[in-house]
């Protein structure tokens, strides 16, 4: 039997449903020395802003039970350098490159989308309205359904590329945000970004992270992420890229059965740099063993 793993995420054709979570996979070359990037369904690169950002003071990460906190603070060289220095490498690969963008203002998002629209080799834009680690913008946009819609509308106007809205779990109703960004013209949704968290070093009596608060990711958050996908799948008709604590094919299947069309692997890359490949292989094996011809058959099957 041959099985079909290909999925269509709002116009982005992925040869399998496995991509990378922004900020956990650099720009490709980092893990390209360990795995064959061409096997991925798509790659989502580190969050990009209009101008370069230094990021937050250290420590930037802290380990927590089955998870980690990060407060990187969107360190990145800015969109122009991204296009001139990081994108050429990625053009060598046969896979959609999804660029994750962040801004301080709606105008920033609009500009970023316009610049990327003109860049060669960009397969889609993931709009991060949910970063808990920057002072302005970020989570602020993502926590209010109307502002979230406004950002997506601005991006939509600037580009014909597929637009993915990345949602935050730090809200009372993620479905309400999903509805607004759907109305605003998003082609797909990705979820979840990190949960706002913190840790305290009882020896120094100070927060562990240089930035005080950070984003919680990893297996610890998986139940929250699966729930978010489940809820949003019922609320809107857009394809979903599910993420949050995925470490293996079984985890990925939880998301797919809850309603995700694709999945992204984040923190697990740090633990097992071959996690994405193991998941792709594991999905295929599961399909063969369970006589599933097309992965699309089981999207949302648990609903």
């Amino acid at each position: 039997m041959r099985v079909n793993l290909a999925v269509n995420v709002g116009g982005i054709i992925m040869k399998n449903p496995v991509t990378t979570a922004s900020g956990t996979f650099g720009y490709g070359p980092e893990y390209g020395r360990i795995i064959d990037l061409n096997r991925l369904g798509a790659i989502v690169v580190k969050g990009t802003t209009l101008s370069a950002r230094q990021g937050n003071p250290t420590p930037r990460i802290a380990e927590t039970p089955s998870g980690m906190l990060n407060a990187i603070g969107l360190q990145n060289p800015g969109v122009d350098k991204f296009i001139s220095e990081a994108l050429p490498f990625l053009r060598n690969y046969q896979l959609p490159v999804i660029v994750n963008i962040s801004g301080d203002t709606v105008e920033d998002y609009h500009k970023l989308a316009g610049i990327l629209d003109r860049a060669q080799g960009v397969g889609g834009i993931e709009v991060n309205i949910s970063c808990p680690n920057v002072k302005k913008g970020g989570l602020q946009f993502g926590s209010d359904p109307d502002s979230a819609g406004e950002v997506i509308r601005a991006v939509r106007r600037a580009t014909s590329l597929p637009v993915i809205a990345k949602l935050s779990p730090n809200v009372t109703s993620i479905a309400a945000v999903a509805e607004k960004v759907a109305e605003a013209g998003a082609d797909a949704l990705s979820m979840i970004n990190t949960l706002l968290g913190m840790a305290i070093d009882i020896k120094s009596r100070r927060p562990v992270l240089g930035n005080i608060m950070g984003g919680l990711s990893g297996p610890a958050v998986r139940p929250v992420a699966v729930r978010a996908v489940w809820q949003v799948y019922r609320a809107v008709k857009l394809p979903i890229i599910g993420m949050g604590g995925i470490t293996c094919a079984e985890d990925a299947l939880e998301f797919i059965m809850a309603g995700a069309t694709a999945v992204a692997v984040g923190t697990a890359n740090f633990v097992n740099p071959r996690a994405t490949i193991d998941i792709i292989d594991g999905l295929e094996k599961f399909m063969l063993e369970n006589n599933i011809k097309d992965i699309n058959e089981i999207i949302g099957i648990a609903q």
């Binding site: 956990t24 650099g26 980092e30 020395r33 250290t58 380990e63 890359n269 740099p273």
Partner: protein, 270 residues
């Protein structure tokens, strides 16, 4: 080439109190590694603790295909490492990072290690002995809290090598910090040093960098930061490196730009 799989543990024994030497059968790693590089270890199959732990390559035995690590049992991850038995397999990723650059022929070299920071310097000293004799004089300065905490440098004996020790409590060697010991040697002796290599706790490195700077001696230091990925993807292991920007620094990453940096590049707040 970055290896990432399970390697067989051949030895995992306490050497000095609270410190253990682990030897893994890893021919590829031992052949490829250069001094100053590190390995990223998965201490448990469970998701708690979740992240890998960076540990330097302490020595290699290339002929036997072995990689040595010398580690201090510091917390949960290293305690789990300490519980592994010879014959078990350990998930190792590496070699990672940029190592030390060897000196110019004829340079007199000071290698300075504080506490467990000495671990990667054994590999460096062995490489210096192998690659540079007979032209380079190597002085290895080892500092620890007390005599019992000094890693035995006897394994390194070689004609071109001098070993000097310092302890905080004076129980062995010089009574004081290893930086003070180095300073006293430079002051007293006619023979200064042309190059310094160092690894150790942040305050030690800071004072060493200042000293070397004021004496105009070039060198390299190995820095520590909390690490996620170990390969430059997560941007967590940021180190401040001097830069002409408004901030006066930019962040480079210990796992890929380092952990070894040029002493003159490291940015310290004043």
């Amino acid at each position: 080439m970055i290896y990432c799989h399970k390697f067989r543990i051949l030895k995992n024994e306490e050497t000095i109190p609270g410190h253990r030497l682990m030897i893994v059968d890893a021919p590829g790693i031992s052949a490829a590694a250069v001094p100053g590089q590190f390995l990223h270890l998965r201490c448990s199959d469970s998701t708690d603790p979740l992240l890998r732990r960076p540990v330097s390559i302490h020595r290699v035995e290339r002929d036997k295909g072995l990689a040595h690590m010398l580690y201090r049992v510091a917390g949960r991850g290293t305690a789990l490492l300490a519980g592994k038995m010879p014959g078990e397999y350990l998930d190792v990723m590496g070699p990672l990072g940029k190592g030390f650059t060897l000196p110019l022929p004829g340079e007199r070299v000071a290698v300075v290690g504080g506490g467990i920071g000495a671990a990667p310097l054994f590999f460096l000293v062995e490489e210096l002995i192998r690659e540079c004799p007979p032209n380079n004089m190597v002085s290895f300065f080892l500092g620890a809290a007390s005599a019992s905490q000094l890693p035995p440098a006897s394994v390194l004996h070689s004609p071109g090598l001098e070993v000097h020790t310092a302890t905080d409590d004076g129980s062995a060697g010089y009574h004081g910090t290893v930086t003070a010991l180095l300073e006293s040697r430079i002051d007293s002796g006619p023979a200064g040093f042309d190059r310094i290599y160092a690894c150790g706790p942040a305050p030690m490195l800071r004072s060493l960098v200042r000293m070397a700077g004021s004496l105009g001696i070039p060198g390299q230091v190995s820095l520590e930061e909390r690490m996620g990925c170990g390969v430059g993807a997560c941007l967590s292991c940021a180190c401040k490196i001097k830069d002409r920007s408004a901030d006066g620094f930019l962040y480079k990453h210990a796992c890929t730009d380092g952990p070894v940096f040029d002493m003159r590049e490291v940015y310290y707040e004043s």
